[in-house]
């Protein structure tokens, strides 16, 4: 049986056989634990709470209301079906003109008018996942490398590297300066790479940062842009959380900094998506925006591998062109994110748990290093298994983000209702109080090396099975479309 299985595997490509997909990471294992035992307030109150999925589910009502009021935007309503034929037939990889125009306008609005975007540079792709991969296919060859500040989004290991053969070189950041990447760190990583004969093609920044939930300062962006210009490197900025900034400092985009700093526009590229800002990950709207004409042309051809459904383009073109709606949505979404973030972070603070001060994103960076048996990644994983299995919270361990310092966890806060937040906080309170030696220790907030007395079971091997078919993008089981039978 095992031999037959191996035979089946041998006839595949090396990409299919290797682990470059990165799905054995604890980042995804936690999701699998959730999928098997999902929390529900009434049907499964002891289930695992999903705190590992960075989705923006706080403002759906605004979008639903808009859809109800704009039936022509949907081709499935009596009011909109007249457009069905044209939309269904439309497969031009330039995308609907009004869609590109609406996206360009929206991107400008998110940047408070400090930068304007040319619709002819807007290139579609299959979500930010598709956008990241496609852009790298355009910029680099197998063996080339990109520098990326860590901690960084785990799926970059798959998106940037897997099928492209390109390498990622982490630029480790640490808590001493709130994990802000510095020019010195970047230069040092670059020099080491060059000395090791690695062909560095560029830098990838995520701004606002995932997992930190912070924005990069204008000064940092300026210095990094100058650095890439001097070294003739690409500057790739993943700005998919740009409209989730809910507190100061305000968001500064690379598109603004470019206007004030000497640079080569041919080297500057933005990855965007509507999945986080609008909370529509299912619609798979990824955007590559490049200031390099050749990259735009090449990426557009490659977009054939992941075009946005014309049905979704049509709906979103209409929605994003509605300036009144966009204004209201951005403001209200920010307000709700701020409120939710505050509730969660304050609740944790009350338990002596501190988080990195964040102003953006759908998550915060939680510091649990004082709960580790010892300051090691093994201890972090042990604590993580306890949190998943016993406390039943799916949080993401810092090591899965390539964080050098053990003890940090990413906690998502925008993908649940208020009640679930309270349940999660209650469980964390229980976790902390069980780990506490004494109430005094908690009161004074001293760091301590605790020996946690939980059962710390080995991670269920079946969670790591390569045959797991769950998509990392959705905790929802198979698409209803799959159930169609011949």
């Amino acid at each position: 049986m095992e031999f037959a299985s191996e035979k089946k595997r041998e006839i595949l490509s090396s990409i299919a056989r290797n682990d470059g997909h990165g799905e054995h990471s604890p980042y995804f294992d936690g999701w699998k634990a959730y999928d098997r035992n999902p929390f529900h307030p009434t049907q499964n109150p002891d289930g695992v709470i999903q705190l590992g999925l960075a989705e923006n589910q706080l403002s759906f009502d605004l979008i639903e209301e808009w859809i109800k009021n704009n039936p022509t935007a949907s081709i499935c309503t009596p009011a909109g079906v007249g457009k069905f034929k044209d939309v269904a037939n439309f497969q031009d990889y330039h995308g609907l003109t009004k869609f590109r125009q609406a996206v360009a306008k929206f991107m400008g609005r998110v940047r408070r008018g400090k930068a304007t975007f040319d619709p002819n540079r807007v290139v579609m792709s299959g979500g930010a996942t598709g956008a990241s991969e496609t852009l790298i296919f355009c910029l680099a060859d197998p063996g080339d490398a990109f520098l990326v500040p860590s901690p960084y989004y785990p799926a970059f290991d798959r998106d940037i590297r897997w099928r492209t053969g390109v390498r990622l070189i982490p630029v480790p950041c640490n808590s001493s300066n709130n994990f802000q990447v510095t020019l010195a760190q970047m230069e040092s990583a670059y020099t080491k790479a060059i000395e090791a004969n690695i062909n560095v093609k560029g830098v990838i920044l995520t701004n606002p940062s995932n997992p930190l939930g912070t924005t990069l300062s204008k000064e940092t962006l300026t210095s990094l842009l100058s650095f890439t210009f001097k070294k003739n490197l690409h500057m790739v900025c993943d700005e998919i959380y740009s409209a989730t900034v809910f507190n100061s400092p305000a968001f500064t985009s690379i598109s603004e900094v470019m206007q004030e700093t000497e640079c080569n526009p041919d080297l500057v590229h933005i990855i965007y998506s509507l999945s986080k800002d609008l909370g529509l990950p299912g619609f798979r709207v990824g955007i590559i925006y490049s200031y390099n004409d050749q990259v735009v042309n090449c990426a557009r051809k490659m977009s054939s591998f992941g075009l946005v459904s014309s049905q979704s383009q049509h709906l979103l073109a209409s929605m994003l062109s509605d300036e009144v709606f966009v204004e209201k949505f951005l403001e209200e979404s920010s307000r709700r994110l701020a409120k939710r973030h505050s509730r969660f972070v304050e609740g944790l603070k009350h338990e002596g748990i501190h988080c990195l001060e964040g102003n953006a994103g759908l998550f915060f960076w939680m510091d649990l290093h004082h709960l580790l048996k010892e300051p090691t990644h093994d201890a972090e994983m042990e604590l993580w298994r306890v949190i998943i299995k016993d406390v039943k919270l799916n949080v993401s361990p810092g090591s899965s983000f390539h964080c050098m310092e053990p003890g940090f966890f990413r906690v998502c806060f925008a993908n649940m209702d208020d009640h679930t937040v309270e349940v999660a906080l209650k469980r964390i309170k229980e976790l902390v109080s069980k780990g506490n030696g004494s109430g005094d220790a908690k009161k004074h907030g001293r760091k301590r090396n605790l020996s946690l007395n939980f059962t710390s079971r080995k991670c269920d091997e079946s969670l790591m099975s390569p045959h797991q078919r769950m998509s990392p993008h959705s905790p929802v089981p198979q698409s209803p479309l799959v159930r169609a039978r011949t």
Partner: protein, 445 residues
């Protein structure tokens, strides 16, 4: 000066310099419209199901059942084809494909995967069917080029031929892949467009006879809703495979091109309505058959024959007799005249890697009946200007039965010389059932 972009960005392996795409660009600049631009270029290069955009029908109408856990959804067949090749092959590997084939394969299968395509040459002498000899020759050619053959990819029904594969061909392919221990990928995106006999035989149907053998894991199907339902904009593709490693890998790769959930939701509702889907498939086929017959008879009247076909959204048209010489240069010359002077966007056979000059793909399902009539009139005028009346007669004579010595306007089905007759190819005239209303002087055989 450091090179800024990847090799992929700088090279032409995206394949878009092919005339296949140039014709589209010309169409985009000057598209035909019955009212406001009657002299514009008519789009016959796009294989879309223009004739029917109603609700959806039953997926295939064949006798196989599919396991839903073995399907991976992708953003269109373009993504499905690339993904399956990423799973099966890489640089240094080759996929064998019968010619002529869909030009987009050069991009979809080779560009980012690094794999190569080696053609299985098919000839008009036997209706472009795959032969054992052609398969072996292709395999050998790959080896001569130091390429490791990983599989065969077929399109069934065929694009651009518009024919369904015979059982004999499918059996031959199965034997071949078993012998060579390689994969078979069957692109079945036109499976719902089979509008006349012979009935469609799907690869999975033939596979069922090999149930216990290892080959079960080596056969994979690509599907899409773009052609059968005329919804190319929705980007709905799928890979189906019994090989769970392929499914696991393809699932992971599908992250790069998932189907919009908005579209999935809509289509699952549509596909679940069995009454609707059954009716759609049946009605769609009727309309395709009618449109196909219109084109075939119109071409026949202009002295042009087509490969007999029973599926797809296009005809494989024989214009060899209109070439100034039996060369691909002459084919391009004729093609340019057709696109720029006659203003019809059709696809030259060379862009489909056909080994014989003079064949063209013409789509009939992406326009109204009126536009098709205009197209046919233009073609007739073109033929007359290119070859004159005399050559039109000569081309007809070439197709008549050598034994009869008599040309008859009432004899609509002509047999080719004996050696081709055995292969069963018929150069087809119009189906009389559809021509009676237009040309009363035509009599059925």
């Amino acid at each position: 000066m450091r090179l800024l972009l990847s090799g992929k960005a700088k090279c032409n392996s995206h394949g878009q310099d092919s005339p296949y795409f140039h014709g589209w660009q010309e169409y985009e600049k000057n598209p035909y419209d019955q009212t406001w631009n009657p002299k514009g270029i008519i789009q016959m290069g796009l294989a879309e199901n223009h004739a029917l955009v109603q609700f959806m029908a039953e997926i295939r109408g064949n006798k196989v059942s599919f396991d839903p856990s073995k399907i991976v959804l992708t953003a269109g067949a373009t993504s499905a084809n690339e993904t399956i090749i990423f799973c099966l092959a890489e640089a240094g590997d080759a996929i064998l494909i019968p010619t002529p084939y869909y030009p987009g394969f050069d991009r979809d299968l080779k560009w980012r995967t690094g794999a190569d395509i080696v053609p299985i040459h098919c000839a008009s002498s036997n209706g472009f069917k795959i032969t054992a000899c052609a398969l072996q020759q292709a395999y050998q050619e790959a080896q001569n080029r130091n390429l490791k053959v990983k599989g065969v990819l077929i399109t069934n029904p065929s694009n651009p031929l518009g024919t369904t594969m015979t059982r004999a061909e499918l059996d031959l392919l199965m034997e071949f892949i078993v012998e060579k221990q390689i994969h078979l990928v069957s692109d079945e995106i036109y499976s719902g467009t089979v509008f006349s006999s012979p009935n469609y035989t799907s690869t999975m149907e033939v596979l069922s006879k090999y149930e216990k053998a290892e080959v079960w894991d080596s056969v994979h199907v690509v599907y899409s809703l773009s052609k059968d339902f005329g919804l190319p904009g929705f980007r709905v593709g799928a890979i189906y495979s019994n090989n769970d490693w392929v499914i696991a890998t393809a699932t992971k790769m599908s992250s790069f091109g998932l189907v919009s959930s908005q579209t999935q939701y809509f289509l699952s509702s549509l596909l679940s309505d069995k009454k609707f889907t059954k009716n759609f498939i049946s009605e769609n086929k009727k309309r395709l058959k009618k449109q196909h017959a219109l084109l075939v008879s119109g071409l026949w009247n202009a002295g042009i024959s087509c490969l007999e076909s029973n599926a797809g959204l296009f005809c494989w048209v024989d214009m060899r007799h209109l070439l100034s010489s039996n060369t691909f240069e002459a084919e391009m010359e004729l093609w340019q005249k057709i696109v720029y002077d006659v203003k019809l966007n059709i696809s030259p056979g060379s862009s489909c890697h056909c080994s014989e000059p003079g064949w063209f793909r013409m789509c009939f399902a992406c326009m109204t009946e009126e536009a098709l009539e205009v197209a046919i009139r233009r073609i007739k005028a073109c033929v007359e200007s290119v070859s004159g009346g005399r050559d039109k007669v000569l081309s007809r004579q070439r197709c008549t039965n050598m034994n009869s010595g008599k040309k008859s306007f009432s004899s609509w089905v002509f047999r080719v010389p004996i050696h081709d007759r055995e292969a069963g190819m018929v150069l087809r005239g119009p189906d009389p059932n559809y021509r009676r209303s237009h040309h009363d002087q035509v009599e059925a055989t």
